[in-house]
Structure formats: C-alpha cells, structure tokens
C-alpha cells in the first residue's frame, strides 16, 4: 500500500500572542484523492498549508508527505509538492515566462527543460500568449492562473491550492475546476481549501472540516453528507396551495402559494414524502435543496454564527 500523500500526526502551532493556529491535528490525505479542507476564517486552514509548505514552523507533531518527514527529509517532501497560495506571491515586475522558468530552476530542471515546461504549463492555463508580458499587467484571475502554472511546472505529485478561485469569474472558475479534475484524473493528489462550498462538493471526494485549529469531521464527501442531521427541500408546486399541508413527520412551511419548504430529518425517507404529497393531491414541478448540502453540514458543525467558511 502506498504512503498517503499527507499524514499529520498531532501537529500543533501557536502564534506569538497565544493565538492557536493548529491544536493537535491528525489528518490523512490519501494518495490520488481530491481533498477539500474547509473551515471558517481563522480555522487554521492556511496555517496547515503553511506548515506543509514549510512557511510555518510547527511547535510539535509530525508531518509527512508521501512518507517523507517534513522535518528530517524536507527536500524530498518539497520535491513532491506544488503550491498555489492564497495571495499573489510572485515578483510582479518580472515577465510571466520568467516567473515560471525560475520556479522550474528552483526545482532542479535544466534550463532548456525549464523553458519547455514553462511553455507547456502556460499553454495549459491559457497564458501561452502572455509569456513575455510583465505579470503586473495581468488581471486577478490571470494572476491566479499564473500561480497554478508555476505550481505545476515541475510536475508535482501533490498540488496544494489555498482558495484558488477566490475572486475569479464564473467561467474562469469552471475552467480551473476542469483543469483540477484533469490533473486529479491523471493521478495528482489535490488538496484544496475554498470558501465556495459548492466547489468543494462538486470537486472533492474527501473532506475535512477544521475549526479552532482542530479537525471537526473528516471522511468521504458522500459519507459526510449522508450524516446530515436534517436538510430542507424546496418544492415548486404545479398548482397553488393556500396553507401548508400536513406531511408528518416532516415539518412543512408555505412561504408562498407555489412553494413548500420541507424539513427532513436524517432518517426521513424522501420516497415516503412524495407518497404523502401525492396523497394530499399535490403535484411537484420542481425540487431543490434550500441550502447546499455541504453548507448545511458546515453550519451544523461550526455554528450559524460563523457562516463564512
């Protein structure tokens, strides 16, 4: 069995002033997975990524990347990783191609190969025609794409992305999703933090929810969503109703004549709900979740007061 892409064992970090970054985190990211790391602001996501990329020094605990100890074999561990940080962190006065080529050199690629790989990854992210342009002139979305290209230039086995689609328009976001899916399909393990829960639900096959520097829940996305305590379905009716019908044990509200909101518990059967709707003579024209299911799980775990992941 191959070593997990990431294995954290009791990792803790406290910043000067006493703020807790991480509080004894145990985390396993299986090799080849698409792993989402979620949590409210200040939960410890960026600290965790900083720790993996050695920008943050842990106070205690052990971190391994593909079996390489980040303390004892940092060079071997870093060779496996590509990192896309949350904030722009390249020299904006340099041309786009130079930024990627230089990063390739840092990972030990010979100049000719570095040039070739820079061209390939810039094409991949749609920046092939901007190779000689100074990075300063790129839009926010293009700067993020440049950072993705830079992270991919040495063909890493593990790609770490800290909110890669924040502030990016919808089309660019979907293009990034497609690229990440393609990379993951090719065997690259992806660790992603995001504020967009629909993004995490759409992309990630494994999730961990972090808060206060601790992992609250970790597992396969489907398993976590099955464990939701309740969900609210919004039913669009084919004909109007004037009061909420009784569909016990589900709770029903009628925000307007054409819409019903039905709260279902974890054990409630959605087939039985439709049976009761039919018995009440109601015809359903459309159905959707009121909240993204992952959002519901997130709020359930971290509390309504901290809605921003």
């Amino acid at each position: 069995m191959s070593a997990p892409a990431i294995a954290l064992d009791g990792v803790a970090k406290r910043y000067p002033g006493g703020r807790v970054g991480l509080d004894g985190v145990d985390l396993t990211v299986p090799a080849g997975s698409f792993f989402g790391l979620l949590g409210p602001n200040g939960a410890g996501k960026t600290t965790l990524i900083g720790l993996l990329t050695s920008l943050v020094r842990p106070d205690r605990g052990q971190a391994r990347v593909f079996g390489h100890d980040l303390d004892g074999a940092a060079v071997a561990a870093k060779e496996c990783m590509g990192v896309v940080p949350q904030e722009v962190n390249f020299n904006s006065f340099e041309p786009v191609g130079e930024i990627v080529e230089t990063q390739a050199a840092y990972y030990g690629l010979a100049p000719r190969r570095a040039r070739r790989r820079a061209g390939e990854v810039l094409e991949l992210v749609g920046l092939g025609d901007r190779r000689h342009q100074t990075a300063w002139g790129l839009s926010g979305g293009l700067k993020r794409r440049l950072m993705i290209a830079r992270a991919l230039v040495h063909e890493p086995r593990l790609l770490i992305l800290d909110e890669p689609t924040a502030g990016v328009d919808l089309a660019a976001r979907h293009a990034t999703w497609d690229l990440l899916r393609e990379l993951n399909g090719a065997g690259v393990t992806v660790l992603l933090t995001t504020h967009y829960l629909e993004e995490a639900e759409a992309l990630c096959d494994e999730l961990a929810i972090l808060d206060g520097g601790q992992i609250l829940r970790q597992g396969r996305t489907t398993a976590l969503l099955h464990g939701l305590a309740h969900q609210t379905l919004v039913l669009e009716l084919a004909a109007p109703v004037w009061e909420a019908p009784a569909l016990a044990p589900a709770t029903v509200r009628c925000p307007d004549a054409w819409t019903l909101e039905v709260d279902l518990g974890a054990d409630d059967d959605i087939t039985q709900l439709f049976g009761r709707l039919a018995a009440a003579g109601l015809q359903v024209a459309g159905l959707r979740n009121k909240q993204n299911r992952l959002e519901s799980l997130f709020l359930e775990l971290v509390g309504q007061g901290e809605a921003a992941p």
Partner: protein, 257 residues
C-alpha cells in the same frame, strides 16, 4: 544528481538576481559611476592638481582604489539588502522557501547576485577613471581577490540587513550611517599613516582600512600591504557573516511564521 539539481537552482537564482539589477541599471549602476566621476573630476583633477602626490602617486590615482572599493561594497550590500527585503515585502521569498532548496543555496544565490553587481559597478568606475589617471593594475590576483572577498562580505551582510529590515528606511540605514563613513575614514582620501594618535589606532580598528590599503597596493603597487593579514581578516569576517546569514535563513528568522 542532487548536485546537478542544486546547480540549476543556484543558476536560476543568480540569473533572477542579475536580471533584477540589470533591468533597472540606471537606478542600480549609474549612481556609483556618476559619483565616482564627480570625485575624480573635483578631487582628482581640479583640486588634485593643487595637491602634491600622495603615497608616491598622483592624488587622482591615490583616491581611485578607494572609490572603486566604495562602489564594489555599497553595490554588493545594497543589492542584496533590497533584493531580500523586496522578496519579503512582495512575498516572493516564498517561491524559494517552498522549493526544495537548502538555506545555504538561497544565501549563496543572493550573495552571488550582490557580488556580480558590486564587481560590475567597480569595473565601470575603473573605466570612468581611465581619462583621469595613469591606471595600471600591478597585482591583478590580489586586486581581484580583495574585490571579490569584500563584495562577498558585504553582500552577506546586506542579506542580514534585508532579513531584519521592517521598512525601506531600514534598508539604507547601515549603508548610509555605518558603511560609507567607515570607507571614508578608512583611508580613501588620505594615507592612515599620516594621522596622529589616537586616530591612527582607531583607523587600525576599521576593517575597511585593510581592504582599501590592500586594494590600493594591488592596483597601484604602492604602500605597505600585509597580504596575509588582509586576506585573513577578510576571509574570517566573510565566514562569520556568511555563517550567521545561513543560520538565520535556515532557522527561518523573519521569513517563516
């Protein structure tokens, strides 16, 4: 295999640093040349005509080695200070920190960039001085050795400054208030031997004095030169400052949370 990868990484870092100062050559290289040219015109040519030769050579020739060394060390120092501080400020130091690079390689890459700029500035000053002096390099190996070691020493010191600087003001404090006075008082414009006590003893404690004296001897073939002492002081200081710079970067002081 790893050695080759490190070589490419080092090369990449040096190319980046060289491009950085070459892109803004007017800002980075020209001031030293203009300053040296003005010194040569005013003190070497206009005022120097009224001064009898010093140390057995015309005054313009006498001050030239100090002016070259001033350009070498200030350029080496400033280059690394600003490059490292800028990398911290813009956070592209993270490109290096996340990459599989040992601390010594990061220090070596920045220092080499500083040495290259220092030597280039020194060479340009030397070139500008040609019309004003009867320049002949008497001991090329000693001249080059002192220039390279001085540039390396101050490039490494500049890295430490860049690590600790909290603002752009902090990047120029040491160069302005420590480095330049030490060079000016280290015998740039006069032979230290002519000073009265206690100034002569104080000058002997100034490391720049040995560098200037050694460089002057290498360039002009004049003056007393304790070669072993000069090189030993320079090498010891370089190893000490380089060791400190490596330790600070390896520990992640001011660059890792």
């Amino acid at each position: 295999m790893r050695r080759q990868r490190y070589w490419y990484a080092y090369r990449g870092l040096v190319v980046k640093q060289t491009r950085r100062f070459a892109r803004a050559w007017v800002q980075n290289l020209l001031p030293s040349v203009v300053t040296a040219a003005l010194f040569m015109i005013i003190f070497g040519h206009l005022v120097g005509r009224e001064i009898a030769g010093m140390g057995g050579v015309p005054y313009a020739d006498f001050i030239l080695p100090g002016l070259i060394l001033l350009a070498v060390v200030t350029n080496a120092y400033n280059n690394v200070t600003l490059a490292f501080y800028g990398a911290r400020l813009q956070r592209h130091i993270e490109e290096l920190l996340v990459a599989p690079l040992p601390a010594w390689l990061i220090v070596a890459g920045f220092a080499t960039g500083g040495v290259l700029r220092g030597l280039l500035a020194g060479a340009l000053v030397m070139l500008v001085a040609v019309p004003f002096t009867s320049l002949q390099v008497h001991h090329p190996a000693a001249t080059l050795g002192i220039a390279v070691l001085s540039a390396l020493l101050f490039a490494l010191a500049g890295l430490i400054n860049g690590l600790f600087a909290r603002s752009f003001d902090h990047t120029s404090v040491i160069a302005t208030f420590v480095l330049t006075p030490l060079i000016y008082l280290g015998g740039l414009f006069y032979p230290v031997a002519r000073l009265d006590e206690p100034w002569q003893s104080l000058a002997a404690a100034n490391p720049m004095h040995y560098m200037i004296a050694g460089f002057r001897h290498g360039l002009l073939g004049t003056g007393a030169f304790a070669g072993t002492t000069t090189f030993a002081i320079l090498a010891a200081a370089t190893v000490a400052v380089g060791g400190l710079a490596w330790w600070l970067v390896a520990r992640g002081v001011r660059i890792r949370a």
